[in-house]
Symmetry: C2
Subunit: 483 residues, 2 copies
């Protein structure tokens, strides 16, 4: 007979139940144990999440948390009638539990785990949500989807809600920092893998888990990473933050009844970080908790496309608005760009809104015509508009040494021979040049228009801005459904 593999010999039961004896066994193909710093990482994080008070959050962190929440509600409403969500709603309705929570922009109600999934999907459909640029995590989807559903079922104050939101975002971004970029490079969709921890932490905090229960919740979260980059371009991408929200909620719910896990699931030799990444920097998770906030570094997209085109769109919108340009005035648009712009968005003749997201020619043309770069500007309608199509033939991007990816230099030559120029160092929406509150409101309205009545849109936005003062955070969810 062939020699039985040693793992088979050890046997599932032994592996399952082995204490130090089994773990001490030599395992030649195992990864090296982590550095000495890798002690109590999960517990340290759990303790912080359980103990941190709203009162301790610096004002800028509260403010960014509020902006994160408002932006998320807007994109969740915006995606709510996309085919992706229609399909998911139809598929899951026969299995849903009690109608505990609503869906933004829709009228159906689901149990909280399904509602968290569906709002999470909805908020990522346009890829127009928030971004933690250091890790490309979209933080709000997994966290806010989980806890807003929970808040509809078990009322919590807006203060507690906002505190939990910030702690969840902090958790996922710190864990993401610890393994980025290796973890992302190899193929994981980090929003779905780190996001589960954020959802578990935030939901667990709102449920009042003890430190030990939070350790278990993080352990059960570690057991359920979601998402591979290969799925990008399909409905599976927006699936990932949605499922991360559900998985984190599921973990917290089980842990709240003392469903156990290991105590060191993040840092142990065969725990999450060693299994899922070739880089582990645990200081990113445990150092400066309560003093530096990743949650304060969140950014919001002003344009519904990849960040590489944002400087050019920003320049186009500025020149158009300042000069009241009309398409017939424009003879030629020269752009000095970084090589990535043509590598990634070089489609000269896009045929659909989706393809428009990969055309610097379309992005500049539509921004010059309509003064915006929202989801409507990357629709089939916009791409097929003859005026916009004609204008994109006049856009001439040139790869130019010395131009950084976050920069652009645009020169518009007018029919009368005049030229207009604009150099962008940091596009709107970057950390250095963030979207203003007014920008976020315009984006929100743009996404929600046609889905909810104007007065309702205003009311939902007002509740979002006021989240820290609400008696019942679930009011936001109830205010955002289709009635």
């Amino acid at each position: 007979m062939p020699s039985i593999d040693r793992r088979a010999l050890i046997g599932a039961a032994s592996l399952a139940l082995a204490g130090s004896a089994a773990r001490a066994a030599p395992e030649p193909s195992a990864p090296p144990a982590g550095p000495a710093a890798a002690r109590d990482v999960t517990r340290t994080l759990a303790r912080y999440v359980v103990d941190a008070r709203f009162e301790d959050l610096p004002e800028p962190v509260r403010r960014e948390g509020t902006r994160t929440f408002l932006n998320w509600v807007g994109v969740a409403i915006g995606g709510s009638h996309h085919e992706t969500l229609d399909v998911a709603v139809a598929a899951l309705q026969p299995f849903s539990g009690p109608p505990q929570a609503g869906l933004f922009g829709r009228s159906e109600r689901f149990d909280i785990m399904n509602a968290a999934f569906l709002n999470g999907v909805s908020s990522h459909i346009f890829d127009y949500d928030d971004t933690h640029l250091k890790t490309v995590i979209h933080p709000a989807g997994p966290v806010a989807s989980a806890i807003l559903a929970l808040a509809e079922m078990r009322p919590v104050s807006g203060r507690d809600f906002l505190n939990a939101l910030v702690l969840g975002v902090e958790t996922e971004c710190r864990i993401g920092n610890a393994v980025y970029p290796n973890h992302y490079d190899v193929g994981w969709h980090i929003t779905g893998t780190a996001g589960v921890f954020g959802a578990a932490a935030a939901a667990g905090r709102l449920m009042g888990l003890t430190e030990q229960q939070m350790v278990w919740a993080l352990g059960l979260a570690a057991s359920q990473p979601v998402g591979l980059r290969e799925s990008f371009g399909s409905m599976n991408k927006s699936f990932n933050p949605g499922r991360a929200a559900t998985n984190g909620l599921f973990a917290a719910i089980l842990a709240s009844k003392n469903y156990t896990s290991s105590d060191g699931m993040i840092e142990a030799k065969r725990g999450w970080a060693n299994t899922i990444s070739t880089k582990q920097d645990y200081r990113e998770i445990t150092e400066g908790l309560g003093s530096r906030y990743e949650a304060a570094l969140n950014t919001y997209k002003p344009f519904a496309c990849g960040i590489v085109m944002h400087p050019a769109i920003d320049a186009a919108v500025q020149l158009r608005n300042e000069n009241r340009l009309t398409p017939d005035q424009i003879r030629r648009v020269d752009l000095k760009v970084h090589p990535l712009v043509l590598e990634l968005t070089g489609k000269t003749a896009p045929r659909s809104g989706l393809e428009g997201k990969f055309s610097i020619y379309h992005a500049v043309a539509v921004a010059l015509v309509e003064g915006a770069g929202g989801e409507k500007q990357f629709s089939d309608r916009a791409v097929r508009d003859p005026v916009i199509a004609a204008l994109r033939g006049k856009v001439v991007p040139t790869v130019t040494p010395g131009v950084k990816p976050e920069q652009v230099e645009m020169t518009i030559t007018l029919a009368d021979g005049r030229t207009l120029s604009r150099q962008i160092e940091h596009a709107v929406g970057s950390v250095e040049n963030p979207m203003t509150d007014a920008d976020l409101e315009r984006k929100f309205v743009d996404l929600a228009e046609g889905i909810l009545p104007d007065a309702q849109i205003r009311r939902v936005m007002a509740l979002c801005w006021d989240i820290a003062n609400l008696k019942d955070a679930g009011d936001v969810a109830r205010a955002g459904v289709q009635v």
Copy 2:
């Protein structure tokens, strides 16, 4: 400002929606593309799962599928009143959908996704389930839990059910083969990671998915791996096959409504195998479909402990039964063993049933006294029995060069000076010396006794043996609940 990372620049939207443009971009830290063989792996597997007919299954494969099913029902009943399941049931009850499916050995009913989870947990609690020795996957848990719940809701014939069960087991074991051992060594609990595919394939087959829908179901399954080895020893271990069952079912349900994924989620550059393992052998997945069956290699544990102790227990039971030994007759028990036996199971004075699973001294003593090695022999009661405790002091294992892990040589010295010897080459339960049908029945009864009445146990077993002929496979589920 710090230079923005290129991944941030590409932007989530671009990554999400990029076609060939973004994928063609050079990515220095990416893993090398797979070999040319890595084409259409997901689709080839999907086509097989969609097309394979029950009539094409060789008789030995049907028979092993039936044994797999019976063994799984037995362990699921056996675990049904463990604290782990009590906790999970209590946690999930408030969120469950319609009472679509039952739990073995219990009276509660849940929607099929929660029922699949709970039966999957229950069947793995004692680590006494089936084992595909080449990968240490426990195949039945994820697959049978998913499709039996489904069968309760949407009636299917026993033939279709057994066919789907075999196809699901085949799917997960082949995918496991492709990445084992690297994938397991690094820290994944392969039952939960490969198991999701098995559940999705089997559930998708019963739901009548088209080939394209099956491709998507496998893609959504690939997005939801479950389980890390660090959790072994906690309730989180049995969580893994349960959650794998739910995740696979969830994937199939969404795909059935045309929720899309990528077409090559298993084999693509940033797909499952490249992301989750440093070894990929896609031939294990695609070669010999319909002619060689991993599902025929399933094994069942006769003893509720790690396989490393099985030869010694087997020898002890044989010598006891053949010689009608009583404890007072035994002066000393010598064992020649492989080093792993002492490395993994060297506890001389276990204090609990759980610790007894890691004591070769206890395992041999209890087998000599009670003639078995079931869950009851690894209980607190057994470990604390004074007769058994005294006898384990007489067990003397000696690491002996030349003894293979699957072997043992036992010599019992009796009080009257006589010696009895037995050499084991392949313990009962191995591929070479499988459990007989009668063995499986004894194991089943042992697990179910005290949970269901004897007549009901007999009836459930009879339905399991007859699965291929049942008009409605869901009858097994309905027959196995507590009434």
